[in-house]
Amino acid sequence: MLKDLALIFISAVLTNNFVLTYFLGICPFLGVSGQMESAWGMGTAVTFVMTLSSAICWVFYHFILVKFNIIFLEYVVFILVIASLVQIVEMFIRKFSPPLYEMLGIYLPLITTNCAILGMALFMVTKKYGFIESVVFGFSAGLGFSLVLIIMAGIREELKYADVPKNFQGAGITLITAGILALIFMGFSGITS
């Protein structure tokens, strides 16, 4: 059991990283990785929401969708669940923990329709995970996303001082960096089967 969980963890963080292997959540990956501080904020928010929504989506999937035999509605239901969940979480945080709310800032509402989170919910179903496995999967997927985001932010902060050829400046060098990062993460494949 513990071994399985460890495998899920490593596979979601490194080998099957959401951003660099599945190419999910590319928009925030490129949009928010300009500064270390915002990368931390976004990473925290995504990890938080992914962990929560994996738990809730699992419950909804197994106790409503499977029970009434309407699995084909999973896309719609998951989006509904995730969006409402994020809204509720945002309200709770704003009420009970203003510092956390300030830290997460605008990133929390931004991720309501993040494809990485929907992707996580769908993977969780196709891989037939149990409840605990799902939660671990959600958490580690979020961690993997944060890891890549922070690595990227670190590189891009340094890149500001690099002498980039004019043709590659801006989006060009960012995409090239992302590509090289993805190649590096390819090296992890083979750790887990």
Binding site: I64, F68, N69, I70, F72, L73, V76, V77, L80, V81, S84, Q87, I88, M91, F92, R94, K95
Partner: protein, 269 residues
């Protein structure tokens, strides 16, 4: 058929449930935002310049209401805005916004000695980095970095020296930051309608000042002695005026007349 019915029903039910939960929580978890904050925000210019030290007008309004103090005050809003906000909050307005930028240098092209020749970017900051410009390292370079940042067009360069029009100055302090020689300072005129300045920043002794500029303060200290209870004081070999101690132009007239370098100046604000 059953499938369609079930999916419609279950989705509707879920939608209504989530909607209801959100509606209820929205009411229950409502964060009380102070109506005062809204009112203060309406009075502010809303340009989010950040000169008050907060990230934006909204934050300034929140902090002003919370701390019952205007802090540095709204600088572009001017005295009028600050007075209105202060009245709304029932506190006295700070005088911070009445400060004016004052240049502490008299080095016009006729007065200052420039022995080096500079060829390069036309900017005071660059000249300062290159250690070029006037021989006096406390002298106005005169390329107008301050002119460029001034949002009120209150600064001009006349004969190689920065001139600030106190009537136009809104007290934002941007020129203070822009000046690489740090010879522009914010001065509070207090209750009077003029500012007295010793228009030099060179703290060196007479020989050194005379070598580089004919208009600098030579540090004789006459102004500190000639008036009883003088508002002037010495910082190393540089005289300075304490504007809070000055009451009338008459009081300091003898110092202006007797100053050998003619470096004490009155600015009407």
């Amino acid at each position: 058929m059953d499938n369609i019915l079930i999916s419609i029903l279950s989705l509707t039910a879920m939608g209504i449930c989530f909607g209801a939960i959100l509606a209820v929580l929205d009411k229950k978890l409502k964060v009380e935002s102070n109506p005062l904050v809204e009112e203060v925000e309406k009075l502010l210019p809303g340009i989010n310049c950040g000169a008050c030290g907060y990230p934006g007008c909204r934050k300034f309004a929140e902090e002003a209401v919370k701390n019952k103090s205007l802090g540095k005050g709204c600088i572009p809003g001017g005295k009028e805005t600050n007075d209105k906000i202060a009245r709304l909050l029932g506190i006295s307005a700070s005088s911070a916004n009445a400060k004016k930028a004052v240049i502490f240098c008299s080095g016009t092209n006729n007065a200052k000695k420039i022995s080096s020749k500079y060829r390069g970017i036309i900017s005071c900051a660059a000249v300062n980095l290159a250690n070029a410009g006037p021989d006096c390292k406390y002298g106005c370079i005169g390329l107008g970095d301050c002119v460029k940042v001034c949002p009120a067009q209150a600064i001009s360069i006349e004969n190689g020296l920065c001139v600030i029009d106190p009537k136009k100055c809104i007290g934002c302090g941007l020129c203070v930051k822009a000046c690489p020689r740090n010879i522009i300072h914010m001065v509070d005129p207090g209750n009077k309608d003029f500012i007295v300045k010793v228009a030099c920043s060179n703290p060196g002794p007479m020989q050194e000042v005379k070598k580089v500029c004919s208009a600098g303060c030579i540090g004789c200290g006459l102004c500190t002695k000639i008036i009883p209870d003088s508002p002037f004081y010495m910082e190393k070999k540089l005289a300075a005026a304490d504007n809070s101690k000055i009451t009338s132009k008459k009081q300091i007239q003898p110092a202006i007349d007797k100053c050998p370098a003619k470096v004490i100046k009155i600015i009407d604000v």
